[in-house]
């Protein structure tokens, strides 16, 4: 093996994020193998968003080291950014640009070769080709979500981050999203923030519960007893906001 970091997609050591007395994350440790699907659970204010912001290089750790795809999130953030994609409950698309313009714009930002062709093939893949000349403002919630998946996959990332992707979707749109995730599941690593316990457990291969910035539970799915897990989760919700 020439590549030293082949088996760990995420490596978090002693990750602490503080500002003053407030600890958003407190000595978080965990590993995630390549190809895994991690669901992060926790009540509001537990530090889920902060964790994902750090993993996606949007904020820096106060202490500890974080490696994603074998790259340090602070030192090698630029390299890392072209290896990850984010699908959020926010579409992250410009409403006044057309679907095609949006994708081409982000293709330019990522330095994708042949942006026009790449955008087109993704539009076909998410079945939005017929609407490619319409501004995104006119799209339904489900279409937006599909387009935002296409945006996240433009630069062929190794890892995908999902920030509550299901919130605000109707059942039909959820099915489509499930379907798309299933299609890319086999060769991407996933990290998903979720409020929906059942959905999150169904999709994941690893689960993590955060509460008040600390890891309450981190385990592969095989080791998890669903009832116990739900019990633990509920007890953290009772702990409230840090």
């Amino acid at each position: 093996m020439t590549d030293v970091c082949t088996d760990s997609a995420v490596e978090v050591r002693g990750l602490t994020r503080t500002f003053g007395v407030r600890k958003a994350l407190d000595k978080v440790d965990f590993d995630l193998p390549r190809g895994a699907f991690l669901s992060v659970f926790g009540p509001n204010g537990a530090g889920k968003t902060t964790l994902v912001r750090i993993l996606t290089t949007l904020s820096a750790p106060s202490k500890g080291t974080v490696k994603v795809c074998g790259l340090d999130v602070v030192e090698q953030s630029d390299k890392l950014r072209s290896k990850i994609g984010l699908i959020s409950h926010n579409p992250l698309l410009y409403p006044d640009l057309t679907a095609e313009e949006n994708l081409q714009f982000f293709a330019d930002m990522y330095g994708v070769e042949n942006p026009a062709q790449r955008a087109r093939e993704l539009l076909i893949a998410v079945e939005l080709d017929h609407r490619r000349l319409d501004t995104v403002r006119t799209f339904s919630r489900g279409m937006l979500q599909r387009l935002s998946i296409a945006r996240a996959l433009l630069h062929r990332p190794e890892m995908l981050f999902l920030d509550e992707p299901y919130s605000g979707l109707d059942p039909h749109a959820m099915d489509i999203l499930d379907n798309l995730i299933a299609q890319v599941r086999h060769d991407h690593t996933f990290v998903m923030i979720s409020h929906d316990l059942d959905k999150g457990l169904e999709l994941c291969s690893h689960a993590l519960i955060l509460a008040r910035g600390k890891v309450v539970l981190s385990a592969p799915k095989e080791e998890i007893d669903v009832d116990d897990f739900k019990q633990t989760y509920r007890s953290t919700v009772g702990m409230g906001v840090a």
Binding site: D3, T56, T57, L58, S59, D78, K79, R81, S82, K83, I84, G85, L86, S88, N90, P91, L92, L93, Y94, P95, D96, L97, E101, F105, F106, D108, M109, Y110, G111, E113, E121, L122, I124, A125, T135, R151, L153, R156, P157, E158, L180, Q183, V184, D187, H188
Partner: protein, 249 residues
């Protein structure tokens, strides 16, 4: 077939693309221009705003009598209109980014933060210059008919450009901050006007020299331009240095 499209690249194929920053700069600028051409939001609202300002000026000058020469305060009136108009546009330009979380998507891409700054500032500069070009003839027609124009023709464009660089440069940073506050427009005004004070003072001095002409106007014009240029150089540099911190917060 769909499967191949959604696949990731093998790690070996990744290389840093040369000239990426320039491509990103162009992409952001082009996107802003395309969006503006489609919605015409900023230029219409800014243009209308500056026309309304002209009406307000008419009211302000209505009692001054025929002996009063509006040319003596023309520079001040113009820059007053521009500074308040610019804030309208700056605010809009950053609200676009903020609205659907697009700024986050921008920050997630492998783009150097200064590229975002310069692209956004260039876009704002272009829109500001367009509105200024539209406003000047109207202003001249309404207020400067008697007396005429004293300086050389290139003086006004020069001072307009130099002043707008400062407004767009510092304004882009301030708007990036104010867009994340409650009470966006108000905060932008409060931050912007005092910071713009030296620029406006120098620009008004140069503009007045250009409009009035006469003895010593050339030296007054150049000292004004020097002031504006000095301000531009220092403050745009500072804004550029601070942008990375501000946009990441």
């Amino acid at each position: 077939m769909a499967d191949e499209i959604l696949r990731r690249t093998p790690p070996a194929e990744r290389t840093k693309v040369p000239g990426l920053s320039l491509r990103q700069y162009k992409a952001i600028l082009r996107k802003d221009i395309v969006m503006e051409l489609r919605t015409k939001e900023m230029v219409t609202s800014m243009g209308l705003y500056s026309l309304l300002t002209m009406v307000v000026y008419q009211i302000a000058l209505s009692q001054s009598g025929s002996a009063f020469d509006p040319r003596t305060i023309a520079g001040g009136l113009l820059w007053l209109a521009f500074i308040f108009t610019s804030m309208l546009g700056l605010n809009r330009s950053l609200v676009h980014e903020k609205d659907q979380g697009c700024l986050e998507a921008l920050l997630l891409s492998p783009v150097d933060r200064p590229v975002i700054y310069f692209a956004k500032a260039s876009g704002n500069l272009i829109f500001l210059l367009i509105v200024e070009t539209l406003t000047i003839p109207v202003f001249a027609l309404m207020f400067l008919q008697q007396g005429g124009y004293g300086g050389s023709w290139w003086m006004i464009p020069l001072v307009l450009f130099a002043g707008s660089v400062g407004i767009a440069g510092v304004g882009t940073l301030l708007a990036t901050m104010s867009v994340n506050t409650s009470g966006k427009d108000f905060v932008l005004t409060v931050l912007m006007v005092p910071l713009m004070y030296p620029l406006l003072l120098a620009a008004v001095s140069a503009t007045s020299a250009a409009v009035l002409g006469g003895d010593g106007s050339i030296s007054q014009f150049w000292s004004g331009i020097a002031g504006v240029a000095g301000y531009d150089a220092i403050m745009v540099l500072a804004a550029y240095a601070l942008y990375e911190f501000v946009i990441g917060a």
